[in-house]
Amino acid sequence: MSEDATEAGGPPRSRRVDEERRRLLRSAVVGGAVACASLIGLAGHKVVEAAPRLRPPGALDEEDFLAACIKCGQCVQVCPVNAIRLGDIDQFLGNGVPYIVARAQACDFSCDATQCVLACPTGALSHLLDKKEQSRMGVAKLVAPDTCLARKGEGFRGLARGGSFKGRLRYAEQDRWKPQPVAEHEYDLTLCDLCVRECPIDNAIALAPLSDDPRDSRRTPVVKDACVGCGVCEMMCPAEPVAIRIDVRVTDREIRGRGA
């Protein structure tokens, strides 16, 4: 249409120049708006950073992890206990980035070989990691000592998380290959030691006496250096509110103790 107009003399030149200018201006505004929308991610990141999430094993340190993750969810697809979820747009830069809610479903290393790490195409879950013991997702911490049954010297009978709990765990003595629903396992413990009993890492957590008195049955969980922060203790803790949780603020979480 415009070339016909040109040929026929058409609308005055100035009007075409005006339209051209308006179009450039519109384009600049749209381009600026889209670029700004993407930059909002940085501002938003500062906000969500305050509540960091538990990342899958082998995740690089947070900033590197966010840069290296291509947001494809292949880690989600291979996890045998569906522990890994993908962040949504409310996580800004964490949109499409995997995380774990340990209380709902912890990483129990049912897969042995850290399948999520093998599935990751970019190394955002570091390919240097080949043993579960090398990971450092975080570290367990006794956050509510008052609710801890062992510290009260109490035992535990029944289902750790109630009958409607959806989480699964590897009960190796029953079935090494298939994680079982936690809701199908009754416990009868004279002293609650679920966090120690179900920990998938050797020597990561132990119960220590609270006093020198040998008749005192109270014990407190002590987290050791080997803890990888998988969150099984957090998932299995029967106390409400949960006594032990994973602190994800650790540095150098990508790998540690190489060759250990």
Binding site: V30, L39, I89, L93
Partner: protein, 340 residues
């Protein structure tokens, strides 16, 4: 021949980078095209074309069979991702940003670029994935990804239908933008990724958001997609695909010399312009204007998404799919047979 081919490729690239299409200078037009144009301008031919157009407009519009096939492809591609995960088939793993298909790495060109610029590492798996994707689309046609695989294209098509309905009633008006914006955005997003060390385009990319929403059910991001669609419905027709999306540009570059493309045959063309009206990238169809064709048959340039909407609306079959000159050969044979 070679020079002419190179000139055409350069023109296609310039068009993709946002240059306005130009009417060919007389010396650029082949002798056959000049002859054809002269024939088309004879009064008899004009009358015949006019009558044909009138007939065509009176008839019921044909069933859009290419669109049906393309939508089937869109559903199949995205459906494979979803089903493979939900049924645990492990054939197609991941999302459209990066995946393993039968174990082979695939990576979206722009996602991989964003990531490597932000992370400042060359990731071997991504290099493999990008190479696979480049090879694939270099054969089947770069922006095929857009119209045959991208889930945003599908919802954007629906938004476009609504936009056109509203525009017909004059309730909304399309605001065109400068196509060079897409190049600027590509560079801007690359720079942002490099400078901030975050692949910032990825968190707002509707391709990734929709792909993950389908596969993993992450739903909040759909609000952003909806906002983009509202802009497309009420303000600027298909603005994201046309003027912004760096993903499309990446695939366009991959398919610069793809053997699979749409071929234009000026012999059959009525110059009615329906193809340009339905086209996402009408600048690639500029030669369909009367007197704008440099040759009698011309392959459509690299920015074409091969969506085939033009094939669906073309009443004469002047636009057809072609694999490296097969159609051109047929045309030559037909015209060789015609005089007998």
């Amino acid at each position: 021949m070679i020079v002419r081919l190179l000139q055409r490729k350069l023109r296609d690239l310039a068009l993709m980078f946002g240059a306005a299409p130009k009417r060919p200078a007389p010396e650029e037009v082949s002798a056959e095209a000049v002859e054809l144009l002269a024939f088309k301008k004879t009064p008899d031919e004009r009358k015949r074309r006019k009558a044909a157009i009138a007939d065509e407009r009176a008839a019921k519009p044909p069933f859009p069979k290419w669109r049906a096939m393309r939508w089937a492809s869109l559903f199949a591609v995205n459906g494979f991702f979803v089903l493979s995960y939900w049924l645990d088939l492990q054939l197609v793993e991941g999302a459209l940003t990066a995946s393993r298909i039968f174990g082979f790495h695939f990576a979206d060109l722009n996602s991989a670029l964003q990531l490597m610029l932000a992370h400042k590492h060359v990731v071997l798996n991504l290099v493999i994935g990008v190479t696979t994707v480049l090879l694939l689309y270099a054969i089947i046609g770069g922006r095929n990804f857009c119209s045959w695989a991208c889930p945003y294209h599908f919802v954007s098509e629906l938004a476009e239908m609504l936009h056109l309905k509203l525009a017909e009633k004059r309730w909304v008006k399309d605001h065109e933008l400068d196509r060079r914006l897409r190049i600027v955005m590509f560079v801007v997003f690359a720079l942002i990724a490099f400078v901030t060390s975050y692949p910032l385009f990825e968190w707002i990319s509707p391709v990734g958001i929709l792909s993950r929403a389908l596969i993993y059910g992450t739903s909040l991001g759909l609000a952003w997609v909806a906002a983009l669609l509202l802009v497309e419905i009420f303000w600027s027709r298909r603005f994201w695909c046309r003027y912004v999306c760096p993903v499309g540009l990446g695939y366009g570059l991959a398919g610069v010399s793809a053997p699979v493309r749409v071929m234009y045959d000026a012999n059959k063309c009525l110059h009615e312009g329906k193809c340009r009206q339905v086209c996402l990238v009408p600048h690639v169809l500029d030669m369909t204007k009367l007197g704008y064709a440099r040759d009698v048959t011309t392959p459509i340039g690299a920015d074409c998404t091969r969506c085939a909407m033009c094939l669906d609306v073309c009443p004469t079959g002047a636009l057809k799919f072609d694999i490296l000159g097969v159609t051109r050969k047929q045309v030559e044979e037909e015209s060789a047979e015609a005089p007998e």
